[in-house]
Symmetry: C2
Subunit: 477 residues, 2 copies
């Protein structure tokens, strides 16, 4: 079973009965001490990813794919209800199409990968790998859309896009989805500087990682206006027989959402995964003693798993006889399984199991009778607690800054800064320039839809001009 | 709605009530007259694909994606039952890894796409786009597999691979899956010349397209033996503590299966799609007359769709008032919807609908009362009939050839040739050389598992040496 072994597990040296007392399962750094290294280690040791021999590429292992499949299935069903249909466009874009929208391509140009050879032969014209999907799709929208009855044209595609990253790419980080991952986000509008290149405006949900003091774009939605329609000649005849130009929007979220989830919930023992998305919600572990009836314990473990699976939970027992219970605890804690059930001789006697929560390590004895209901309650509570805890931590990072001094101090403390702003592009450029440094410059994250009251004479924290709105600022991924 | 318009539909000129008497919905060539052109036209006019501005690339439109999603969901669930887990490996391969297995890469080298630039900068080392998945995955198998408990490692990935095709690439054609597509296939073993490069042996299912007289590999499964394990150092410690090397297999099928389905079932009116996979099984069309109660007809159409959907069918009504019933018949015939229900004033009166089958155009009046059961029967019958008809046509193409003369004659008639063979690689090369021509050379398709009796003194059709087995031969895609 591909998902059933530790990232660092060593060969078992052929001794079937050898019980390991020590393992190398742990993490070598603490989340609070070196967040970047902690993250790199936890995603590998938790068997979510494997780094790859090409920089910026990584392998999504089954433990990750199963989470992505839950999120994708949910999202796919939701958009199908809205009559959005799936399609699939090629991986390649010809240069002419890619360069049609100048502002847009400027935003991506240095990151575009170009195919110039097939086998040993040079291609007549180099071909780009899609850095984004809009330019690939829109020439065909122009072809397919003729009259007003062809509208709205609502298409989705699940695909990979390629942008070359140059400095220390971090797996997963950029777009997030809230409901399943228990990650609190702020809904708002991006600034002119930070909007999607070539679009009219961009809205987003923004997450925040307290440990690194960085915001992350959770998912984006772009109102493209008629700009792309103009460049790609996506016209139609309206119901009066007159020529008109379509309005467009586009939106995306990606596997990187899972990186945010890991960063927000993980701890020094490894991954902490929300019950709603994890491949395995409950791990059942036998705790035999010398004189105990081992077979009865193993049988009870297997029966417990059957009961839980029949009730719709995702449960497994770890019955391997060459690992100690302690090793197994560490292993499944590293992998972030939300709930562990231990069954030993005493539990057998009392017709109970011992439940241990991954999020807070709380231990409870639960009667086997009525186990399903109790487990459901606990998983629901874990899901909610993860969100609540994350929100408390996030909220504790928010600082209101009305002056440059307050802003600079809060930035130094890695805070998520809410500041009154004049909403001028030049001022944001200036903020970036003034905050340049090793950790990266500050930028606007979003202007929340839910705006606090802004007294009339409030001034911009950066320019001293009259403020137009409250905006979140900070460093970001 | 993206799926709801014809590939060739023109603008409606803003006249809401205009009823079209003529359309350009038809195909300009007949399947029997020019099969290649017929195919190119039917996949575009049936809105399955759109050709793309890069040769060999094409767009999978929603009508295709919905079929693929049915097949993928079925297959994904089946392999999950076998505890095969999904993963995702990067699109890119470094040259060292790609070239590790020499025989293997030789089979693909001229078709490999190479990325040499990001933005305007040359990469230090060119990077390949995966032409196949084995070489991408196996270096990591070497890392993940340590002891015998790590075996079997069973991973699947849904992904795109890139191989540059040089001459008239035909969309979809190569690997097929039988159950849903109603396409008869022959199970067998590939010859040494035709096996997967670098593997031990390959088995396949082979379909045959009577119109073009060509075989198509429906899906392949490769026993890789220990060759890749050796090249990629995928070793483990067995249960006796000794070093051993893994045995591997790999298998694949792809979206190209759908091309075979189109070729086999399609006719001069367009696509003919099997009920099990098609996005829309039943189209309900109102047939109003001047004096009839149009609203009552429309209401009955809507009610019929509701009844059918509630019973689990995929049904829709085409209530558009700017197209005539005849136009709609042609439109949905082109798209291959298995069953059409027409509802006019007389049907309303008699509490019936008129059912018209796409596969054979048989017309039946069905009472509204008990419609669901009758529709189920008809769809089941259509699914079975498609398979039976395809099998009859395929079987009618099979010719047994015992001598070169018989073989050459049958090949000239575009047959699927079953011939006794000595199973020698040089002889197959010779057959290829002797049959070279405009239509392409003949090659072995597979040696069927279900072998007819082979009398002891039977000689090879090509070499005159003693025959070892019966093998299917023909031209192929």
């Amino acid at each position: 079973m591909a998902g059933g072994k530790a990232g660092n597990s060593k060969s078992t040296k052929g001794k079937e009965k050898e019980v390991k007392k020590e393992t190398k399962l742990g993490l070598s750094v603490k989340k609070d001490d070196n967040f970047g290294e902690w993250y790199s280690e936890v995603v590998v040791n938790g068997e979510m990813i494997e780094y790859y021999d090409i920089s910026g590429c990584y392998i999504l292992r089954p433990w990750t794919m199963s989470i992505w499949e839950v999120m994708q299935a949910f999202f796919d069903a939701e958009i199908k209800k809205m009559n959005i249909k799936n399609c699939y466009f090629p991986l390649f874009v010809s240069p002419g199409v890619l360069q049609r929208e100048k502002d847009h391509i400027e935003g991506f140009a240095p990151e575009v990968a170009w195919v110039t050879k097939s086998g040993n032969s040079d291609l007549d014209v180099p071909i780009a790998i899609r850095p984004t999907s809009e330019t690939v799709m829109y020439p065909y929208y122009s072809k397919w859309i003729r009259g007003h009855r062809d509208l709205p044209l609502k298409l989705n595609q699940w695909c990979n896009v390629v942008r070359w990253e140059f400095s220390n790419p971090t797996p997963f980080i950029r777009r997030v989805y809230e409901e399943f991952l228990a990650v609190p986000v702020i809904k708002g509008k991006k600034s002119e500087l930070e909007k999607f290149a070539g679009g009219l405006y961009t809205t987003s949900v923004e997450a925040f990682i307290p440990n690194s003091g960085r915001g992350i774009q959770g998912a984006t939605s772009h109102c493209l206006g008629q700009n792309f329609a103009k460049m790609f000649e996506i016209n139609f005849e309206d119901d009066k027989g007159e020529k008109a130009m379509v309005w467009q929007n586009s939106w995306a979220y990606s596997t990187r959402t899972m990186g945010v989830m890991v960063m927000v919930h993980g701890d020094d023992k490894g991954l902490v995964l929300p019950p709603k998305v994890v491949a395995l919600q409950i791990i059942v572990i036998p705790v035999p003693y010398k004189d105990a009836n081992t077979q009865a314990i193993l049988d009870t473990c297997a029966a417990t798993v059957n009961t839980l699976c029949a009730a719709g939970f995702r449960a497994e027992a770890d019955l391997r006889d060459n690992y100690s219970p302690g090793w197994k605890y560490s292993h499944w804690e590293m992998k972030g399984v939300p709930l562990r059930l231990e069954i030993g001789p005493k539990d057998l006697e009392k017709k109970q199991v011992r439940a241990v929560r991954r999020d807070n390590f709380a231990k409870t004895d639960i009667a086997i009778d009525g186990l399903g209901e109790k487990v459901k309650e606990m998983l629901d509570d874990i899901q909610q607690s993860l969100f609540d805890t994350a929100k408390l931590k996030r909220d504790a990072c928010v600082v209101v800054a009305k002056t440059w001094g307050e802003f600079a101090e809060a930035l130094g403390q890695k805070k998520l800064i809410l500041a009154p702003w004049c909403d001028e592009e030049e001022v944001e450029k200036d903020v970036k320039a003034r905050t340049k440094g090793d950790m990266g410059a500050a930028k606007s994250l979003c202007s929340p839809f839910d705006q606090p009251e802004l007294p009339e004479d409030t001034l911009c924290f950066a320019s001293g001009k009259p403020a137009k709105k409250w905006t979140y600022w900070g460093r970001s991924y």
